[in-house]
Amino acid sequence: MSPAKKKTKTNIEDYLRMYTQMVRIRAFEDQANQLYLSAKMPGLTHMYSGEEAVAVGICEALTDDDRITSTHRGHGHCVAKGADFKQMFCELLGKEEGYCRGKGGSMHIADQSHGNLGANAIVGGSMGIATGSALRSRLQGSKDVTVCFFGDGATAQGLLYEVMNMAALWKLPVIYACENNGYSEYTATDEIAAGSIKARPEAFGIEAFQVDGQDVLAVNDLTSRLVQRARKGEGPFFIELLTYRYHGHHVGDINRDYYRTKEEETIWKEQRDPIVNFGAWLTKEGIASDEELEKIRADVKADSEAAVEYALAAKYPDVSEVSMHVYAPDDAA
């Protein structure tokens, strides 16, 4: 664990909140996976388990005024940015009380109230959106920063280079957060990314960093510094976060032998788990006891179960909603 932060009263709260948030993501995904396996969830979904330190380390450096854009693997970002379990599960099940009234589902979940501009089912599709949000911040003289999450596979999309060029030219307050989990669907990153990912933003004059994405404190420290600098007009920035997804590319991707080994999975899960390792650090440093952490996990689990129950019982939108929300009304209307 990065020892950059000192143990103070405030930090202790921060640490425990980060721990809790990571546990919440894991619990959410475990429930979502169960819902899928028991055929209670429509469609399919992409699990964030294993990458919790990335979303939490970053989002804990942001305020509700700061925006994020998310990806197809977006539940983690959504939880980390402050979303509520019930509304999330309702959305995943297509229920009226979902964040998007059931119209978006897992791949389009958004949470306007906490600055989550939404998941995106087009790989790289939100790179422009994030950069545009930062442009709006600059134009309106606001201080908010936007973080754009995307995967290593998404670095193949030309859009990234178009928007990084503009962000660099105009010094926009945007942070590109590349979650490098080593795979793009069923293909290893080296087979689809030439040269160096970090050198690419640098060629556009953007300061770039690489960080251990399993170390929530390292992620949070770096991001906090960059967010402060971005607020002062020193952006944009690029962070490559080295991480790993535990599950398949999506919930149905069960046989993975042809593209990655069981050993590799085991090493990441057993030696580099961001929650286990952070928990161990917290107890070693005397910040929390095993029992306290155990209670956090138990509470979160109970919460997530209750939310699932709630969502399963919640009602679907009325059929009349099908043609609502195609066009936003006039302000006068």
Binding site: K103, Q112, I122, A130, L135, L139, Q140, L159, H325, D331
Partner: protein
């Protein structure tokens, strides 16, 4: 009333809205000092500065993406796309992102932005700078589509577009930038979904869009000289489409020709003609005739280009045949 060019009308509309609403800004290639290659936006950067009139790199998908993000979070961008043909480059941001955000978010996020671009052939600009691609965006729910046919419409529709809370695509006819029309000094807006009846008539309805409104007007004059009374209708917006005005006219005239500069097949004319055939079926004295651009890429050679688009002569000829009750193949 004063007469101003379509170019000036667009410029005024944007300037007025930028004065009124500080969240409106402009972006695109060479929109600032150069005022675009067509010089439509000249003078705006002098008034509003480079913060609100932003020259972008040649990165259409990228700056469309930025516009969507800015619009989602409280700005009202007006994006300049130099040629309508470049729409193909921005389709993902426009159709997968901008058009769907309001729906996918269950009404929580919306994208108030304007994409202004152009259409129209016969400028000897060849296949990649001459297309009329409005049918593509008209097919995508969530987008509104406006087709001004004169300086008057260009101003009124642009102002409405900027105030609309949805993504709006406006296609200007690039051959019309220097055409003048009466435009009031006073502020006015043209509501979307209200067709304009340019000329009343009782024998046949000519529905024309954008550049084809003038073509229909000229055809109507030719027909009038022969005693055929044509009604000319400009839908002004094709999404939303003012179906009622068109249907009412056809119920009266019993005959209709729909003229548009996009390729004929799988385009605008099919939709409008179908709605007429469906909903005014028992009033029709003959088939609804469609006249779009030929289904060929736009050729460079002047010897070929001009015959790809409908002309007043051909509209008038089809009208005569329809009046005579001939059964014919208009294509």
């Amino acid at each position: 009333m004063r007469q101003i060019t379509l170019s000036k009308a667009v410029n005024e509309a944007i300037a007025e809205e930028m004065r009124r609403d500080p969240t409106v800004f402009l972006m695109g290639e060479d929109v600032a000092e150069a005022g675009t290659p067509f010089k439509v936006l000249s003078g705006l950067v002098e008034e509003f500065g480079t913060e609100r009139v932003i020259d972008t790199p040649i990165a259409e998908p990228g700056f469309m993406g930025l516009a969507v993000g800015a619009a989602l979070t409280g700005s009202r961008p007006v994006v300049d796309l130099m040629f309508g043909d470049f729409l193909f480059l921005v389709m993902d941001q426009l159709c997968n992102q901008a058009a769907k955000a309001y729906y996918m978010s269950g009404g929580k996020l919306n994208v108030p932005m304007v994409l202004r671009t152009n259409l129209g052939a016969t400028r000897r600009s060849a296949a990649q700078h001459s297309q009329s691609l409005h049918a593509l965006v008209a097919h995508i729910p969530g987008l509104k589509v406006a087709l001004p046919s004169s300086a008057y419409e260009a101003k009124g529709l642009m102002k409405t577009a900027i105030r609309d809370n949805n993504p709006v695509v406006i296609f200007e006819d690039k051959l019309m930038y220097n055409d003048k029309a009466p435009v009031p000094e006073e502020e006015y807006l043209i509501p979307f979904g209200q067709a304009n009846i340019l000329r009343e008539g009782v024998d046949i309805t000519l529905v024309g869009t954008s550049s084809m409104v003038q073509v229909c007007q000229k055809a109507a004059e030719m027909l009038a000289a022969e005693g055929i009374s044509a009604e000319v209708i400009d839908p002004r917006t094709i999404v939303p489409l003012d179906e009622e005005t068109i249907l009412e006219s056809v119920r009266k005239t019993s005959r209709a020709i729909v003229v548009d500069e996009g390729h004929q097949s799988y385009g605008i004319t099919g939709e409008i003609a179908s709605r007429i055939s469906e909903k005014a079926f028992y009033h029709l004295d003959g088939p609804v005739i469609r006249m779009g651009a030929m289904d060929v890429p736009v050729p460079f050679s002047p010897a070929l280009e001009d015959i790809t688009v409908p002309t007043p002569e051909r509209v008038a000829e089809n009208a005569r045949r329809l009046m005579r009750g001939e059964m014919f193949d208009a294509t």
